[in-house]
Symmetry: C2
């Protein structure tokens, strides 16, 4: 479960301050499937970066499975990320000099998984997102939607319990988007927790409930919670 209380995050530039998150309170249970929507610039990616242990808040508490993350150092946060979290970035963050296959295998580099097994898992994931014939391409040799799918596959290879997807279908046509949504539904029914930022209502509809963010604050929550 994720318990967020009084989360605040600002960016300071000279004497100007941008308040990206303003007193966020949230409770997300294990195996929830949550969508986050809101205007461009409203704080969605900033919230996801804190949930994903990529950055820390200025104030407030973040309990992940009972552990307070606000006070951890970078190494401790990295360890939690590697074990439990799969993050699909809004701008993909792929390594430009490595192939799709190498990119997907990267998260397992320092794990106990053997290279053979990592290769098998990576190929299966790339096939699953429709990139069987693009495994040896580097990002510059891929279309926008293909890069997005490499980022999706990479986020899933360590079998994370918490999946954070920031605009996972932003560059995908409707058929490919549905394919990804089927994949997410499958992961959800396997017990994984999914938090997904999207600006498309038809994508958000796959989640159990939708949180609306606006100017760094939670404005409303809609949808069925716990069928």
């Amino acid at each position: 479960a994720l318990v967020i209380k009084g989360l605040n995050k600002s960016f300071v530039m000279g004497d100007a301050e941008v308040k990206a998150l303003d007193n966020i309170n949230l409770l997300i249970a294990h195996n929830d499937y949550i969508a986050i929507m809101g205007p461009s610039g409203s704080g969605k990616s900033t919230l996801m970066n804190i949930l994903g242990c990529l950055t820390t808040a200025d104030a407030g508490s973040y309990l992940l499975n009972g552990q307070e993350l606000a006070t951890l150092n970078d190494d401790q946060l990295a360890s939690i990320r590697n074990q439990y979290i799969g993050f699909i970035f809004q701008s993909f963050n792929l390594q430009s000099r490595r192939t799709a296959l190498e990119n997907v295998m990267l998260p397992l580099r320092f794990s106990k998984v053997s290279r053979e097994e990592a290769t098998i898992k990576a190929k299966a994931l790339l096939e699953r997102v429709g990139l069987a014939e693009r495994m040896e391409h580097c990002p510059s040799e891929l279309s926008g939607g293909q890069r997005q799918r490499v980022a999706i596959a990479r986020a899933l290879i360590n079998e994370p319990t918490l999946i954070l997807a920031d605009e996972p279908t932003g560059n995908l046509d409707s058929n490919t988007s549905e394919e990804i949504m089927r994949l997410f539904d499958e992961l959800h029914s396997n017990g994984q927790t999914i938090i997904m930022v999207t600006h498309e209502p038809t994508i958000a509809a796959h989640a159990q409930l939708t949180i609306q963010l606006e100017d760094g604050q939670i404005h409303e929550i809609s949808g069925i919670h716990y069928e």
Copy 2:
């Protein structure tokens, strides 16, 4: 007008060949507003790169306002781009060490426009896309949708006659997307030619007609042509 005949484009990797565009024929009149849709990987961005004089085809002809572009060298293509074309890239391609304002002004750097006038124009465009308060931010200090809007503003500063927009609303919420569509409608009613790749049917609906691309070929054209 754009006249494309028998356009072909392949990417060769070792002994594998990816046929990205397969015998494309197209006629787009001055002041047309065209949407291009199709599956991820179907060749949309590749076609846009050729239309935008960023790359050349392997075979076929591309006449832009009566001039054959297939045989031009890089400098000649760059000159045409600077004068007539505004390109909004699927992955934005902003300069990371410059502010939003500097990024938008870049296309006018070697033009006859004075620095003062370029600054006024850039500020007006950034205000128009809702970024008045983010002009001094660099790309890493902007949200995904804010970067996208900087890319849109930059593409418009040289008052291009041909606007090529590759997924211009991919990272934008519905309100901000409508704002951008209003801007495009305005440009269109001012006489500009707009070719827009999108995967969202509600965005494509703003165009006069929609071209469907699939496996590098044009599969169908729908919509009202010349009311």
